[in-house]
Symmetry: C2
Amino acid sequence: MTKQICRKKLSASQEDYLEAIWMLIWKEGVARVRDIADWLGVSMPSVSGALKALAQRKLVEYSPHKYVSLSDRGMELAEKILARHKMLRKFLTDVLNLDEQLADGNACRIEHAVDEIVSQRLGYFVEFVAQNAGASQLAEEFKGFCRQQDPAKGDGPSGAKENGSLTLAEIKPGQKAKIVSINGSAARSQRLAKAGVRRDCVVRVIRMAPLGDPIEIEVDGSKLAVRKAEAIDIEVEKLE
Amino acid sequence: MTKQICRKKLSASQEDYLEAIWMLIWKEGVARVRDIADWLGVSMPSVSGALKALAQRKLVEYSPHKYVSLSDRGMELAEKILARHKMLRKFLTDVLNLDEQLADGNACRIEHAVDEIVSQRLGYFVEFVAQNAGASQLAEEFKGFCRQQDPAKGDGPSGAKENGSLTLAEIKPGQKAKIVSINGSAARSQRLAKAGVRRDCVVRVIRMAPLGDPIEIEVDGSKLAVRKAEAIDIEVEKLE
DNA sequence: ATTGCTTGGTAGGCATACCTAATAATAGTA
DNA sequence: TACTATTATTAGGTATGCCTACCAAGCAAT
Ligand SMILES: [Mn+2]
Ligand SMILES: [Mn+2]
Ligand SMILES: [Mn+2]
Ligand SMILES: [Mn+2]
């Protein structure tokens, strides 16, 4: 295998160097080692080292003691990561209504953790909230919702929705419930019935997997695991 | 300074070890080096090393060749990070409508990048969307919005909101605009007026900083930087 | 008890990403 | 031009977090 440019994904730190260089070129016209170091809060030797690695990947044009510039590819990547930063920042400030500085710091960390598709989809969401007339009033409603949550601190009566219909997925471990109805496909109902899960019978939730799926229940003295997708189609009535 | 337990924040990798141990204890009853290694996709020596570091911090109880268990503090941290993972996963699947597997992977990376407040606020948001009747229809609307975006690929007519009132912050670099009115404090209006930014005068946006702030404009042949906070209070009329 | 597989640990190495201290180059100023 | 302050590089060190290769303990079947 001959020597070739490494196409492996950039590290978080490398992405931040590109971002910083882009920013400094924008702001000051040129990027110098000193300014990159100050911007990122690292020492100058750290910058020298990072630049060598980036130069090897042909992302920056760099000869010692000269100004640093970005290659076309480097520019492209820098702009991509910066767009992500901006989008995340906007989400945190505009949708979650968070403080600018906090948003900025978090955005610059999350930007390295999200896949392209996720970034894109979240971008759509931010735009959607910004554009959609019905949605922008949502931002206001959400502020109210936060005020409700923040001072209360207790979990409050969040479990029981006003909805009226309670599903098996909402029963907490240890509690018993009587089955009111089983919705969904007939095949599924049949399968559940064979396992003892029928209308009017009483089940006890033993425990719930960490991500809420599956749910382990006891019915007629025997254990059974129910998928969350099934549980939300099983209407129940809580018993004490 | 005497020897004491390090209270520095855990590394991303350490958080993942705690998460894995918690999960395995939940699933299998016990956590063994072998299973932790398999779960996280690392070698057994890596696990041994990580466990030593976690034991030193009193987060796991660990004596060689015995099962691994979590201390109270370790349990607490594991549950905190797991809750974060779950919440992020729910956001990605339920709000952004992303694939479960993709959501899980991204959640497990983002979970180490968000501050407590951000995590909490995003949690509120997920709950808000889930509970709010008006908001849950938003999920449907958003799906439609995504379908619109995905195939189109072009930027679309995203700039001009139906709103009618256009502000200086929305003018793109290179374009000219006539100032209609300047809102906000009188002191600010005065300061801007002194710089040449007055009602009915024409400005040209030169460029916008990467994060949209500040905006560089040309007025009366001289350059001027305007903060975004100011720009959104300056109503304009776009000129060609 | 002996054997042999699985599990767990140690030793040693590599890559990344930082640091400080010392040295070299450059630029500004007398 | 010569001196000086600033900027940049090199050298050498630390901390993580991973790896492979090898060694040691545990356990089950013979
Ligand atoms: Mn960043
Ligand atoms: Mn960033
Ligand atoms: Mn994780
Ligand atoms: Mn996780």
